[in-house]
Symmetry: C2
Amino acid sequence: MHTTGVMRRLDELARFSSEPDALTRLFLSPAHKAAAQQVLAWMRESGLTAALDAAGNVVGRIEGARPGLPAVILGSHIDTVRDAGKYDGAFGVVAAIEAVSRLRAAALPFAVEVAAFGDEEGVRFPATLIGSRALAGTLDPAALDARDAEGISVREALRRFGCDPAGLPVLARRQGDVLAYVEAHIEQGPVLEAEGLPLGVVTAIAGATRCTVEVDGMAGHAGTVPMPLRRDALCAAAGMILAVERAARETEGMVATVGRIEALPGAVNVIPGTARFTLDIRSADDAVRQAGVDAITATCRRIAAERHVELRMCHTYAEAAAPCAGPLVAALEAAVARAGIRPRQLPSGAGHDGLAMAALCPVGMLFVRCRGGISHHPAEAIGEADAEIAVRVLADFLQNLDPGALAA
Amino acid sequence: MHTTGVMRRLDELARFSSEPDALTRLFLSPAHKAAAQQVLAWMRESGLTAALDAAGNVVGRIEGARPGLPAVILGSHIDTVRDAGKYDGAFGVVAAIEAVSRLRAAALPFAVEVAAFGDEEGVRFPATLIGSRALAGTLDPAALDARDAEGISVREALRRFGCDPAGLPVLARRQGDVLAYVEAHIEQGPVLEAEGLPLGVVTAIAGATRCTVEVDGMAGHAGTVPMPLRRDALCAAAGMILAVERAARETEGMVATVGRIEALPGAVNVIPGTARFTLDIRSADDAVRQAGVDAITATCRRIAAERHVELRMCHTYAEAAAPCAGPLVAALEAAVARAGIRPRQLPSGAGHDGLAMAALCPVGMLFVRCRGGISHHPAEAIGEADAEIAVRVLADFLQNLDPGALAA
């Protein structure tokens, strides 16, 4: 258990879980409600005027030089995956509250708000970013009809949480009222650790394309079909998997992953007649991603033709990249540099609430080094010193932010 | 429905199934009992003295030039896999009965027996070749304790079938009493069809090595871990699968197959930390197979080392090859040639009752072309003309067999 500031609060927040021996805090669950109430209390202790809104977000505000100025929103999310770590999302919320408590807010030419969104992980419902989309004004009302595994709709779950879904449309902010959205988040990757840097400045949230790939060859007896007469679907898939890896290795700024695979019929003594696998391709640059998808598709088609197997690729998901705003990247880099750290730009391969907020305002993100790049796992960890530096950088960033630069 | 001889009987036998719309006839099931009684009736119609033995085999005998001469046993099995074809096993039994019915047995210098074994597929119990091992005298009594999915032991199932397990030891034949075991069987592979030949003469029943392979790398977020920092277990496995294929392609007389694979944790957006797959390597030449296993193991180790992943290979099964007896291969080839067919030697990649019978006597096998090489599937098929040629060749083989050549 940590004894100071941010780390202690992260330990405390991790106790709000629906499981006794693991951290699982799904959107609109009782554990989420308890965590939201704790966050609300911390916001108020830090001088923010705070409330739970109709989307289940906790939002607090502290005025700047005069009441009613446009706001810079800091934030992240307090929902988690199942059996999660303590830092994904929670860090950005706790660090934001801590940073605001250190501000001389009355000297700022803007208000500062802190948002603790509730639906970034998208685990409970087949919908995601409901909270940040509500603020951005892009929430599709149909998302309220999404149901969890027990058949409970988002609408019903909001009511049980104590929220009135009728209040959702009012949450949408006007563009002029929000100067920027800035999120601190653990990196969830190994780049900063590998380079020995506590912080990084995000250039863009990567876009992603997902496909399911099915290869159909011919099943046969593993003992009786000579190699030249085989049309082994799994061997074809293996060639494609290596081609996917090669394409990503050779393309700067793109990653590609085959995360699932199965061979059918799936017996030790039967040549696979069918192989199915998934494909996930990401880049902060949509043109790079699209070129990668095209190249991988062409290579898979060539392998299928060479091996006389059928290929079906089905695109299941596509999300464009969300570039971070240049002035925010520059301002965050300047704050990082003032903390004596070499500024390092990197893309975010994972999605974040910033994807939704980008429809409303300029978005910036600050990444914090996490141990081993591990995330979505109880072993997720950050260093206490890194957490403190991130809070200092966030506060310094706000203290030095020029709203005029953002409008440019 | 076929109207003549062997094909009509195969259609009739296929009706004995434990499923209304599929052919499933497991060892010692009521469907097996009904099929055994039908086979018994056909044997008796063809002049054989026949009975059900203590192992659930139907065995018939017709004497040669004088009673009590050593026997040539023809045979195969009448159990099936689930949702089977009509020809695997059944063809060899029905063809043997038909061939014997055409013999001038009283002119032969040996007796002829026909055996319909009941446990070649090994589907019901974790044991196999119980019937042929009983005749060969190699049945491990522990096999009687093997239990099916419902907890019924082989011993109990034999009793329910109407057999007395106490009679099993008596079934073992003395070596001098059996001259040879010869089995006709569908090829279960595509070689004969590809070469336009109705028949082939088996040189050996291949030996097999099976392994499970586990590759451990490091799981990670599909969006946040750059390619150079990954230790993707599935990419490593893909390289190994292609290496397995390459090794088999480059090795005359060996086949190798990866039939099952899984990647863990198995999510579209997670880099696989673990990959598991099976390996099945076969050759009619044990030295070739062992060299192949060694080469594949070395290549997998090299790939694992290059990719900084852990490799565990666990050998789960190994069975030596059973070479067919040279004089039987020659005699079968001569009979094939007399039928006007180019003799074609080929190994059997699949296991057969001959694996057990080889402990007792010289073994020979005659393969019949099957459509598309398909087996263990309702689409299994052979041509009526091919079936007729096989019966003629079997009868001709017996009519011309010189027992003296076998002793040599």
